[in-house]
Amino acid sequence: MTQAETATAPATVNEPTNGTPLLELRDLHVYYGNIEALKGVSMTVGEGEIVTLIGSNGAGKSTTLRAISGTHKPRSGAVMLEGRDIHHLPAHEIVSLGIAHSPEGRKVFSRMTVYENLQMGAFSRKGEKIEPDVARVFDLFPRLKERRTQKAGTMSGGEQQMLAMGRALMAHPKILLLDEPSMGLSPILTEQIFNIIREINGQGTTVLLVEQNALMALNAAHRGYVIQTGKILLADTAKNLAANEQVRQAYLGEI
């Protein structure tokens, strides 16, 4: 398939063909009041993948994640998790089915300590031991271990981002939704965060990654979708997208 073809026809190629995908969005329409933020979004995320959703500011990336995690309900369409429509379930049930959402803008519980934040992350897993998971998070983010008893609100932006990701991991998700994990971070820290995303994926967690930093995201991901004003514009392997003229011009800052 040539790049020109990909640009005109959002393809469904390269999706896992064996069985049902882990997560599938079918024709999602999401509104804020009268404003239609998602105008029929469909996409799939296969087990074990890193899939990225890129697009400019206001394109509907965060809204897509909110629709998946149930924090903002779609008006129509379906969110299929392992073949079961979950779009009508309340957010707190969705998290216990295995979807953890690390929201945009480092939404940590700023008055709680690092440890208490992680504890909250495991809230959906009533009565299970959380210490092994805390240890795993501290392995991934040694910085958090040092700051175990510090109030989350007093930490730097990068540390809060790590905590938001760590907290989401505490839920033992099948799929982790990450909303702009590199926002506001230094290049070095961004690099680190992306390495950790790969590591998390390597340990078996599926990742749906939303980014404005398209270059980094396409580097880390297997497949990608490009969203523009509430519609999926392109869908392809990460490699193809990174090579796509249109993507390069619009999102990678090349002329």
Binding site: H92, P103, M112, M120
Partner: protein
């Protein structure tokens, strides 16, 4: 004019206005009847002095974001501010003395001038006022020069000594009650402290506060260093001693004070309940009185032979399970419609619920059940306890302890964590798996249960219920006491109830100014100690962190911490 001088003059002017205000509303005249130190200083004349000290303290304080003032500057500023306040009061005294203003301002009597001029006549009095104002203003400023612990001890000792003087009728009664007449005679004379008594109380409290401020941490550290079993033993000993004292308290303090403590106990129940709703779950409920009213009316309707319906009357204890049931229902009834509301909207809607509840109980429509405006009489006593304040104290104490245990247990449980998360960020809490609807309803339900229990004992204690007892002041009192005491902390609730409910009950003679003093206390508290008197440890940390964390937080966000250089983000 230098900014320091201008600030001192402005503060002095405000002090003068405050002085005019308390003089003309009659506070100075009223408190003239009571001595601070017998035959030497009246409380009435102490009030303008306190104002001068206060403005001196403010004037000597370092401006925001500036270093501490040099000692002479601080003293000078304090003296100037105090002198201005004194001058204004001197002018006021001369004015009320020479022109009759009593036809518009009933308190602008020559007697006011006499008090303000220390009974020394216009010339000497005015000089005394101005010079005294300057001296007191400088004294206020000295508090900045002294080391913090000493300054705090002096200020606390001053405040508490004045309260001890005001409490003469009660403390005196207690001392007589436990046969310590010698101490009473030493401390008090003709409605105020004796001079030796004053010095003793001031010194004892000052030393106590100073000791705690300088050595409290070490004491705490020593307790924490104890081996766990010794520590548990010590803790249990403290609890047992406290309970022991609480059990004999009514016998020690006598009838009248027991009455006050009973009222305080009911407000402790309300405070603990509202603390769950506001302090733990973060739902600002301004209509808490609705729960209190439902508890009282449910008890009255089920138990009173005078209630129009339910003729086979239940005993008080038989009605209690139904009170809890009613609490669950009213908790749901208030909670369910406001589930989707946040912050200010929630506050306004619940405020409405509180008012609606009273109007319903009062209405002609409900009269067959609630007795309308006449209320319901002859609620039976909670046998085997009687209505006697020294007896009904015990069931109230029991439920306060029960409620306190329940609240502490909940706060540190999974439920408490869910509330905590919800209070911080509802949608993130939901996304981490907190069923916010369930936990909000649980908070309202438990809050309602404590409030209804409070209402039941309120009914049993006074034997009647009237709709007008359940006005918005109850909600405000309950909210103010948890804010004053320190939100989220149980000891804070108890202390807040004593200060805001107990003290005013004891100072009935000054009831006229209750709301005024209340307002001043709350404003001063919010400015000086926003975390409350006894804050929970985490909340104190929060409020103080916010202050000094501002700058470095910005720094951390804008600077790449690996490189230390400013970073342009993608």
């Amino acid at each position: 004019m230098s900014p320091m001088v201008r600030r001192a003059l402005t503060l002095g002017l405000f002090g003068g206005i405050a002085g005019i205000h308390v003089s003309l509303v009659g506070i100075v005249n009223t408190f003239q009847t009571r001595d601070l130190i017998a035959d030497i200083v009246t409380i009435g004349s102490v009030i303008p002095m306190l104002i001068a000290i206060m403005v001196g303290w403010l004037a000597g304080r370092a401006p925001r974001h500036a270093a501490e003032l040099a000692a002479p500057t601080a003293l000078g500023a304090g003296a100037v501010a105090g002198a201005v306040t004194g001058t204004i009061l001197a002018l006021l005294a001369i004015l009320v003395d020479s022109v009759s203003l009593t036809w518009i301002l009933v308190n602008a009597r020559p007697q006011l001038a006499t008090i303000l001029q220390f009974e020394q006549g216009p010339v000497v009095g005015s000089v005394l006022l101005i010079a005294g104002g300057a001296a007191l203003g400088a004294a206020g400023a000295v508090l900045h020069i002294l080391p913090g612990a000493i300054a705090r001890s002096i200020a606390m000792a001053g405040i508490i000594t004045i309260i001890v003087a005001l409490m003469e009728p009660f403390i005196g009664a207690v001392l007589r009650n436990v046969e310590l007449r010698a101490i009473e005679g030493f401390l008090y004379d003709s409605g105020g402290l004796t001079l030796p008594g004053f010095i003793l109380v001031f010194a004892l409290i000052g030393a106590g506060v100073y000791g705690w401020a300088t050595r409290g941490d070490r004491a705490r550290a020593r307790v924490e260093a104890m081996p766990p079993d010794r520590r548990r033993a010590a803790k249990i000993a403290v609890y047992l001693a406290t309970i022991g004292i609480l059990l004999i308290l009514p016998q020690i303090v006598g009838q009248r004070l027991s009455e006050v403590i009973g009222t305080v106990g009911i407000y402790v129940l309300l405070g603990l309940g509202l603390n769950i709703v506001v302090g733990f779950a973060g739902l600002l409920d301004l209509g808490y009185v609705a729960f209190f009213a439902v508890g009282a009316y449910t008890t009255a309707i089920l138990t009173s032979p005078a209630s129009p319906v339910f003729t086979p009357e239940l005993p008080f204890w038989g009605a209690l399970p139904f009170v809890i049931l009613a609490a669950a229902l009213i908790g749901l009834a208030v909670g369910a419609p406001v589930l989707r509301l946040r912050g200010d909207y929630l506050a306004i809607v619940t405020l409405g619920f509180g008012e609606i509840a009273r109007e319903i109980f009062k209405s002609a429509w409900a009269q067959p059940v609630t007795g309308g405006a006449q209320g319901i009489l002859s609620i039976p006593e909670p046998i085997p306890f009687s209505r006697d304040p020294q007896s009904i104290y015990y069931p109230i104490l029991f439920f306060c302890i029960l409620a306190a245990i329940a609240a502490t247990t909940l706060a540190s449980s999974r439920v408490g964590r869910a509330w905590n998360a919800m209070r911080e960020d509802e949608s993130v809490a939901e996304a981490t798996g907190v069923n916010t609807i369930k936990y909000k309803l649980l908070a309202f339900g438990l809050g309602a249960a404590f409030g209804c229990l409070g209402g039941a004992f309120f009914g049993a204690k006074i034997g009647v219920v009237f709709p007008d007892s359940f006005n918005i002041l109850v909600s405000i009192n309950a909210l103010a006491l948890i804010i004053l005491g320190g939100m989220g902390n149980i000891a804070g609730v108890v202390l807040g109830a004593f200060v805001l409910v107990g003290l005013p009950e004891l100072l009935r003679e000054f009831a006229e100014y209750r709301l005024l003093i209340y307002g001043v206390v709350l404003v001063v508290m919010m400015l000086l100690r926003p975390e409350g008197l006894l804050p929970s440890r985490s909340r104190r940390a929060e409020l103080h962190e916010v202050k000094d964390e501002d700058d470095d937080d910005m720094y951390a966000d804008e600077v790449g911490e690996e490189t230390g250089r400013p970073v342009v983000t993608a």
